[in-house]
Amino acid sequence: MTKELHRKIWVKRPGASPTLVQIRENDLMDGVREMILKKYANSLGRYFDAPDITLRIVARDDPSLEQTLGPDEEICRTLDTYYPGGQTVDEALIIDVPHRRTPRQSPRPTQIVYYDDQSRPFEHGGDYFPPMPPNVPSPAAITSTSHESRHSRDLSLSQTHSNHSHSHSLGHSSFDQTRSMTVLSTGQVPPLPSPGGTRRSHLTRPGRPANVRQPTASPTALANPHRSSRPHDSGDLAPAPAIISTPPTEHPPTAAQPTSRPTTPRVSSPRPKGRRRMRLRPDGTNSAATTPAPMSLSIPTIETSVPPINVLIVEDNHINLKLLEQFIRRLKVRWASAQNGREAVNKWRTGGFHLVLMDIQLPIMSGLEATKEIRRLERVNGIGVLANSTPTPGEEKSEGDKLVDRSLFKSPVIIVALTASNLQSDRHEALAAGCNDFLTKPVNFVWLERKVKEWGCMQALIDFDGWRKWKDFSQNDEGAEKKKEEK
């Protein structure tokens, strides 16, 4: 097959941006449909077969004159007839699909291209189910001009632009909640699916009683009604909250230009530098320009600032500790630190922590042991919604296990493991020990900030009273500052 025989044609979905599809010179329309399905592997390929789709061609000089191409038409000849001199981008063929069928997803779709997977930091790209909420769109996935993402976004019917950020932020918590509920109810993270299992299916796999697992179903389920039918697209590809809008992408990342984008495996995460000042300002002043007009609801508060959580940093290396402390300090979040596992457990026992950033290899007591100990204490003290109904046999609460002030433990603490290891087994172990999540060092601050926000939001939902107090407090704070300015 020689190269000359290939040709690229413009196609687009109605109202969406055109894309090029490579075909062979003598392809019939029928073959083109196959290529289109490959190109739109996510939004179309998963739900439609090639014969389902039709292509429309619009006459160059009379846009009202359009014709549906038959399956046996020679595409190139037709194009040449319609568009002498070549098809331009504006003349893209329009792809039509039948009215949406109920998407029935096979348990193990084989031809799914997870674009956002590739752009995620590699620690999440493991071949087993990811510990992080998978509906976090990677910032890069949004900036990238992936046609798939754009088109699938078009497919999610209800999401108008104005409510994007809203439902998005809720969407996060929904997922977090599901996962954490598993932790709440069992004191364990759910068993890891076998390697190669679909990444997100534990939330949406047909027949899995996802809602049963979250009796305290958050309003999020309602906020995004299409999630159930289009599990991957609506949440995954919705734009991120405006504050994490990425720098413009006119400069494609090249290795020779270290200043344009990171050149590490985490290439696609946004370069922190460009917007670091903005991002690290929790009062949201700098992000105002990019945020849609603030809604009167209280939700945006969550988006623009970090919830009122209390973070415990556990690190034995003082360089890393200093770095994390500075990071947390700039988020204006309360924090404390511990240098080994034993100290971490003791600090946790004083209560009030929402999130633990736990280094795994620690002297005296390792991060994993500390995590197990914390989970055990949570179980025997009945922390967590369903903990009382599922007493673990053989686990008795001894006097020493009693927590001093039980009211300070509203819910199981979120433990995010930090590890410099790339070994899958270490991650496995971390999850098995009861960590909710993990990050690989060097920690990408963009991701860490997001994790702090996500997990923090979830905790804030659980500890709603505390959140209210914090909100009032921070508002008063703002008021006070304004007064100062006026003076």
Partner: protein
């Protein structure tokens, strides 16, 4: 987006990309209050220098005593902070030290029955790590405008 001046000392572009992962390092610079005031990042980097020096010293002592398990944990320790600063090469060497110290090969995948092989590899890897650290230290000192180090 603002444009950075090219390759001036003190600009990130002047850093050797094979020694320092720029994006990780920029994260640290991002923790500073401003580009002029690099108190935090400079302080952090300089305390890393002394941490690395003392760790290498400990490594030497433990190598003498053939306490390779201790070498492993020292390797792990330095791996954490060098990773945090984006010193990729040094981090890799530290990981090798960590693995070799547990009587396995550099990758940690295979057992290494021969103690002499382990020791020999450790010696070489520690030497590599020191060189990589020296390289990184020079580049970083130059970056922070520490001119006296340039003759070093």
């Amino acid at each position: 987006m603002f444009r950075r001046e090219q390759s001036e000392p003190g600009s990130v572009a002047s850093l050797p990309t094979d020694v320092i992962d720029i994006s990780t390092f920029e994260q640290i610079l991002g923790m500073d209050d401003s580009d002029e005031d690099r108190d935090f990042s400079k302080g952090l980097v300089y305390s890393f220098f002394s941490q690395a020096e003392s760790t290498f010293q400990e490594m030497d002592e433990n190598f003498e005593n053939k306490d390779i398990l201790k070498l492993s944990s020292l390797g792990h320790f330095l791996k954490g902070s060098s990773a945090a600063l984006g010193l990729t090469k040094l981090k890799d060497s530290c990981e090798k030290i960590q693995n070799l110290g547990t009587r396995r090969d550099e990758t940690g995948m295979r057992e290494e029955p021969d103690m002499d092989v382990s020791l020999k590899k450790l010696l070489q890897t520690i030497r590599d790590a020191k060189n990589q650290f020296g390289e990184a230290e020079r580049a970083l000192k130059r970056f922070f405008g520490d001119v006296s180090s340039q003759e070093k």
